[in-house]
C-alpha cells in the first residue's frame, strides 16, 4: 500500500471512530430501538475493516489481495441486511397494491451494485480466483441494498416509520454503492478511483450514523 494511501485510510479510520463513539454515547444515555443499534454495529464493522487495513501495513511483511479484513465489509452488509430484513421489513411492508411493483423495482439496487463490481473487476487483468473471492464481501451489501431501496420507494406506513428512516436508507444505499466501487477498484488496482470511492463511502457512513441519532429520537415519539 502506498504511503499516502495509509494516511488516507488512517484519517478515514479516525473519522469513523469519532462518529461511532459520539453515536454510542448518545444512544447509551437514552434507550433507542434495536434497529438503530444494529446500524451502529454495521458502522463498527466498517471501522474494524479500516483498522485491519491500517494495522496490516504496520504488522505484516506481506499481504494478500483478498484477505480477512474484507470480512469487515461482509459484516457491515450483514448488519444492514439484518436491521432491514430482521427488524424493519415486517413492520413497514403493509403489502399494499403497488408493493409488488416496488419489490421488483428494488431488485435494481443489488443488480446495479453487482454489475458495477463485475464491470470493474472483470475488465482488469487480475486472476479469476481473486475476482470470484472478491465478490463475496460485496454480496451481503448487495442484498441489503434491496431493502434500502425498497424502504425508500415504499409509501409511508401507518406508523410513520418509513418517513423517519428514509434519509438513513438513502445514505446507507449511497454508502453501499461507493463501498462496492471501492472493493471493485481495489481488486482491479485502479488506485485513484479506489481512493475517491473510499473517501466517499467513509463520508456516507459517517453521515448515515449521525443521521441515526436524529431519527432515533423521532422514532421514540412516533410510537
Amino acid at each position: 500500500m502506498e504511503r499516502y494511501s495509509i494516511w488516507l485510510r488512517s484519517i478515514e479510520l479516525l473519522a469513523v471512530a469519532v462518529v461511532l463513539i459520539f453515536c454510542v454515547l448518545k444512544m447509551h444515555k437514552k434507550r433507542f430501538a434495536l434497529y438503530f443499534k444494529i446500524f451502529l454495529c454495521a458502522t463498527a464493522c466498517y471501522l474494524l475493516f479500516l483498522l485491519y487495513d491500517v494495522i496490516t501495513v504496520i504488522c505484516l511483511s506481506m499481504q494478500l489481495a483478498v484477505d480477512i479484513g474484507d470480512i469487515g465489509v461482509l459484516g457491515c452488509g450483514a448488519f444492514l441486511f439484518s436491521a432491514n430484513f430482521g427488524q424493519m421489513d415486517g413492520l413497514v411492508d403493509e403489502k399494499k397494491r403497488n408493493s409488488c411493483l416496488i419489490k421488483w423495482l428494488s431488485l435494481l439496487a443489488p443488480i446495479c451494485l453487482l454489475a458495477v463490481f463485475c464491470l470493474l473487476t472483470f475488465s482488469s487483468n487480475v486472476s479469476l480466483s481473486f475476482k470470484i473471492f472478491g465478490i463475496i464481501p460485496v454480496l451481503s451489501g448487495a442484498i441489503a441494498s434491496y431493502y434500502h431501496l425498497k424502504h425508500i420507494l415504499l409509501p409511508d406506513d401507518s406508523l410513520g416509520l418509513l418517513k423517519i428512516v428514509r434519509p438513513t436508507n438513502i445514505f446507507a444505499l449511497s454508502f453501499l454503492l461507493f463501498n462496492t466501487l471501492f472493493m471493485g477498484a481495489s481488486i482491479a488496482n485502479y488506485v485513484i478511483f479506489k481512493e475517491i470511492a473510499g473517501i466517499l463511502s467513509t463520508l456516507f457512513i459517517c453521515v448515515m450514523s449521525g443521521c441515526l441519532i436524529k431519527e432515533a429520537k423521532k422514532w421514540k415519539t412516533s410510537i
Binding site: V24, H28, R31, I38, C41, A44, C45, L48, F49, L51, Y52, I55, T56, I58, C59, L60, S61, M62, L64, D67, I68, G69, I71, G72, L74, G75, A78, F79, F81, S82, F85, G86, Q87, G90
Partner: protein, 213 residues
C-alpha cells in the same frame, strides 16, 4: 512422544470435572462451558494443524487469515446448539458463551506456555488477560445473536451471522497485533473493550441486564 495437547487438556479438565459434583446448577453450567471451551480448543488445534499442512500459506498469514475463521466457527457451534435445544435466558446464554471462550483460552494459553522456551510472569499476564477476554467477548457476541432464536427468528439467523463475522474480524485484529510485536496493545485492547462493555451495561440492574441488551 504422546500428544502434548491432549495431556495438557486432561491435566486441566479432570480437576474441573470433579467440581461438577458440587455446587448449584448455575455454577455447574459455567464449569460445563469451560470444559466445552477447552474441548473445542483441543479440536481446533488439530483442525488448524491439518488445514495449515493442506494450504500453502506462510505461518503469519495463516494465523491472521485462516485460524480466526476456524476457531470462531467451532466456538459458535456449541452455543447455537445450546440455544436451540435448551432455550436459555439471555443472561445465561451470555455467561455460558463467555465461559466457553475463556475455557478455549485456558487450553490455548497452556499449550503456548508449554511450547515457549523463555516465559515470564509478564508474558503469562498478557496472554491471560488478552487471550481470555478476547475469546470470551467474541463468543459472547455470537451468544447475544443466539438469544433471539425463539423471539425473533429472522433476526437470529441474520444477526448471529453478522455477529460471527464481527467476532472473526476482532479475532483477526487481535492475532495481527500479537504476531506483529504489538503484544501489549493487543492484550490491552480486549481489556478496554470489556471495560467499555461493562460501562455501557452498568446502569441496568441484574434482572434487566439480559432483556435490555
Amino acid at each position: 512422544m504422546e500428544n502434548v495437547n491432549l495431556i495438557l487438556y486432561v491435566a486441566i479438565a479432570v480437576p474441573l470435572f470433579t467440581v461438577l459434583l458440587f455446587g448449584e446448577i448455575k455454577s455447574r453450567m459455567v464449569v460445563i462451558f469451560l470444559l466445552i471451551g477447552m474441548t473445542v480448543g483441543l479440536f481446533c488445534g488439530e483442525v488448524n494443524t491439518l488445514v495449515f499442512n493442506a494450504i500453502p500459506l506462510p505461518e503469519e498469514l495463516f494465523v491472521v487469515n485462516i485460524s480466526p475463521v476456524i476457531e470462531e466457527l467451532c466456538k459458535a457451534l456449541p452455543i447455537i446448539a445450546y440455544a436451540f435445544l435448551y432455550c436459555p435466558s439471555r443472561k445465561n446464554l451470555l455467561i455460558s458463551s463467555f465461559a466457553l471462550g475463556v475455557g478455549f483460552a485456558i487450553l490455548e494459553n497452556a499449550i503456548i506456555i508449554f511450547s515457549v522456551e523463555k516465559i515470564s510472569l509478564w508474558f503469562a499476564l498478557i496472554r491471560g488477560f488478552g487471550c481470555g477476554i478476547s475469546h470470551g467477548l467474541c463468543t459472547m457476541a455470537v451468544g447475544y445473536g443466539c438469544s433471539f432464536i425463539y423471539k425473533r427468528r429472522k433476526l437470529f439467523y441474520t444477526g448471529t451471522f453478522a455477529l460471527l463475522l464481527l467476532a472473526i474480524i476482532l479475532h483477526a485484529i487481535y492475532n495481527l497485533l500479537m504476531i506483529g510485536n504489538y503484544v501489549v496493545i493487543g492484550s490491552v485492547s480486549p481489556i478496554v473493550l470489556l471495560i467499555v462493555f461493562r460501562l455501557l451495561t452498568r446502569g441496568k440492574s441484574n434482572k434487566k441486564l439480559g432483556n435490555s441488551l
